[in-house]
Symmetry: C3
Subunit: 321 residues, 3 copies
Amino acid sequence: MKKFFSVADVDNLKEIVSEALSLKAAPHGNSELGKHRMLGLVFLNPSLRTRLSTQKAAINLGMDVMVMNMDKDGWALETRDGVVMNGTTVEHIREAAAVMGEYCDILGLRSFPTLKDKEADYSEDLFNKFIKFCGVPVISLESATRHPLQSLTDLITITEHKQKDKPKVVLAWAPHVKALPQAVPNSFSEWMCRAQEEGLVDFTIAQPAGYELSEEFSKGAHITTNLDEALADADFVYVKNWSSFKEYGEVYPVAENWLLDNEKLKLTNDAKVMHCLPVRRDLELSSEILDGPNSLVIKEASNRVWAAQVVLKRMLEELKG
Amino acid sequence: MKKFFSVADVDNLKEIVSEALSLKAAPHGNSELGKHRMLGLVFLNPSLRTRLSTQKAAINLGMDVMVMNMDKDGWALETRDGVVMNGTTVEHIREAAAVMGEYCDILGLRSFPTLKDKEADYSEDLFNKFIKFCGVPVISLESATRHPLQSLTDLITITEHKQKDKPKVVLAWAPHVKALPQAVPNSFSEWMCRAQEEGLVDFTIAQPAGYELSEEFSKGAHITTNLDEALADADFVYVKNWSSFKEYGEVYPVAENWLLDNEKLKLTNDAKVMHCLPVRRDLELSSEILDGPNSLVIKEASNRVWAAQVVLKRMLEELKG
Amino acid sequence: MKKFFSVADVDNLKEIVSEALSLKAAPHGNSELGKHRMLGLVFLNPSLRTRLSTQKAAINLGMDVMVMNMDKDGWALETRDGVVMNGTTVEHIREAAAVMGEYCDILGLRSFPTLKDKEADYSEDLFNKFIKFCGVPVISLESATRHPLQSLTDLITITEHKQKDKPKVVLAWAPHVKALPQAVPNSFSEWMCRAQEEGLVDFTIAQPAGYELSEEFSKGAHITTNLDEALADADFVYVKNWSSFKEYGEVYPVAENWLLDNEKLKLTNDAKVMHCLPVRRDLELSSEILDGPNSLVIKEASNRVWAAQVVLKRMLEELKG
C-alpha cells in the first residue's frame, strides 16, 4: 500500500478488517517490522483521537514518530505554481513535502476543507500535491473530502458487533450549531457503498432535503429524507452532522426533529449507535443513548488504533519488500 | 496504586521516599516494567518541569509517552451533565476521558483552578470526573487544590538533606505580583502534616493574616503570622506565594517584609531553602539565597523525576499483577 | 565536544565531514551509544527542518528526545542579573537552564535575534548564559548570529557534490519581503572562510552595498557588490537573503536584479545551487532553478540529519569517556 486516501486504495474490505482484528488480538506481534522506520504526522488542523491512535499504532509496530503541528505556527504553505511568493505563504508545498519525505519513511497528513470553495476542496489539490512531492507512502489523517481511517474503524466496529451476515446500516444526519465538513459522511458512505457491493451490509442514508452528499460518494446507497423510514429495522445507526454540499458549506434550518433518542431507537432493530466523536450531547445525539447499552462510540474510538495499525503494517511490508 | 491525587493515596511516607531514592540510585533498573505500556499526559495548562520530569520517569521505566496539550487548542471540555451542548464546549469529559483511557495504560492530568469560584475549584469536579470516566490509573500533574508530585519531591529532598531525625520545616508565604493558586502550599502542608504525624518532621506555616490556608490542608501544623518567630531554629524553609483562600483568589497588600534574604536566614538553624520553581528573583526569594550554598531549588527540581518514577512504578506493578 | 555553537568548536573540517558521511552510509551503526541518554530540544522560535532532523539524528543514535516549545507559551525568560522580577518574565535563565540540564544529558537551543538591538544580539548573551547555567553540552539550533548545524550540512553537501579539489563557492544575497537575521549567512561565511584556510574551497560573497556582513564572519572572503562578477566560474552558489548589519535590521531598496535564474546561471561553471530553506519561489530564487537539475536544496535539507548526528555522536562519546 503506497497511499491510504480513499476506499479505492483497499483491494478487499473483508481481508483488511480481518487483518485489523488479528492485530487487535496481538498488538505487539509485529514490533520488529517498524524498527528504524520513522512516521511523520503532519497536522494542518487540530487532532486528538487521530493523533493518539495513529501514534500508538506506530509504536505498537516498533516505529518512531515525529509530530508536526503546523496549524498554529503561521507556517502557511503555497500550493500554486507560477506565483511570486511575496505574500503570506512562507514555503511551497514542493519543498515542504519533499523535505518531510527525506526525514520520514511514511507520512500522515491532516488538512480540512475551507467549506468556501467547493471546487478547490473537492479537487484535493493540497493532498494530491503532498503525495506527489513527498515521495513516500502517505496516510490521510482526514482530508478535505474524506476520513478513511475513521471509515475503516467504523467497518471494523460493525463487523465486530453485527448479529447477522448483512446488517442494515443507516447514516443519519444530525443537528449542529456549526457548519461541519462532509469528510466523515462522504467517507463513511463511500466505504459502506463498497461494503454493500461486497455483500457485507445494506446501506441507507437519511438526511433532510438540501443535505444530499455528492453522488461521487453516495452512489449505490438507499437515500431518503425520512428519518423514521430509514430507522425501520436498522441494525446500526451512524449519527453525524454535515453542512450542505449543494449550497456549499451552508447550514439550512431543519424543521423536523433529527436528534436520535430512545424513542426513535424503538423504530430500529435494537440498533447499535455510532458516532466518530467529538459529539455534542443532546444536540447531535441524546445523552440517554450515549450513556446507554446501545452506544458503540467508545469502542469505535478505541478501534482507531487497529485501523491505523493495519494500514501502517501494509505500508511497512511494502517498504521491506 | 490506582490514583495519585493527594497524600491519602500513599500508605507510608517513609517507604515511598525510600523507594524513590532507590530509583534515583538505579534509574534504569526497571526498564522492562513499562514495556508496551503507554502513559498519556494531558495538560489543560502549561507545564515545564512537570512534563519533562514525568516524561523522563516514564522513559526510564521503559514506557512510551504521548503528550496532549489541550490548553491552546480551544478544545473546551464540558463537565456538567444534562446540558445541551450548543455553546462553546466541543466535547464532554465523559467521552474525552473514556477515549484517552482506551489509548493509554496510565493517564496524567494537569488542570489549574479558576481562582474565581472557590466551591467549584475545591470540589475538584473536573479531576474526579476524569478519574471516574477514563477507567485507568490517574496521576495528578497539579489540580485545582493540590500538586502531589511536587510535595512528594519535597519530602524526598528534605529526607536527603536533613541533619537530624525530626527537622523543623517552615512553609513561608512570599510576595508576588500575580494571584497564584493555593495548590502547591495546600499540598505541601497536607504532606508535611502527615509527615509530622509519622514523626518525620516538625511543621510550621507562616503567612500574613488573611492568607490562611484551608484547614482541610493545614490541620496539625503550627500556624503563625510572624515570620521571624517561625524562622527561629528552622532547618528547612519552603518559600511560596499564594493568594487568599478566605477572600478567594484575592491579593491583599502586606506591610511587613516577607522576602527571605540572608539577614532573615540568620534566624534559622542555617536552614536549607526550597521553592517549587519558577521563582521570581528578588520578589519571592532573594538572589543571594538562590545563588548561595543554602539553596536546594535545583536539586529539588531534579528530584521531580524520582517522585514521578516511584508513582509510575507502583501503578505499573498493579497493572501487571 | 562540549559545545557546538560556531566553527571554532570544530578542530578539523575534513574529519567531521568525513565522519558525517560515514554516519549517512550506516545511520544505525551507533544505536547503543545514546541508550539511556536524553536530548532536550528547546525552541524559543519556530522550527521545522531543525527539529525533525535533530530529533531523527538522536533517535538514530538510540537517544530519547524531549521537545520544549517555549515560543508560544509566554514563558518569558529573564536573562539580566540584579533585576527585581516583578514584570513579565516568569523565570530566570539561571533556574530554567539549570533545571533542563538536570533532566537532559545534552541540550539544543534555538533563539532568534531581535534585529533591533545589534549589541545585545551579537553579544549572544542568552546563549552564553544558557550554556553556562545548564551544565551539560549544548548544541546551537540557531542563535542570534549563527546557524552552525546548517553550515556543517552545507559543507557536507558541497563535499559530496564537488567536481574539483577546491571549488569556487559563492554566497549570493537575494531579495525578500521581510527583514531576516544574518545568522545563516554569517555562519556559512565563517565556515567557508575556515574551509578556505584549510584549502577546501575558494570563497566569495556577493551582496549589494549596505548589506556587508560583520567582518567577524567574513574576514578572508572575496567580497563584491557585483553579482555577475561573483558568479563567473562559480561551482556552487548559495542563495540567501539577509537584512543589513550596518544599519542593523534595515532593508534597503536594491535597484539591480539579484534574483538567480537560468540566464544568470550561464555565467557559472554549471553551478549547483543551494539554499537553507524555506525559500520563497521567484522572489529569492527562481522556480526554474529549484525544479531543475542544478538545485541541491532537498539533498541539502536531507543532510541536516547527518550534521546533527555527527555532533551528537561526538558529544555522547565524551559523556561516555
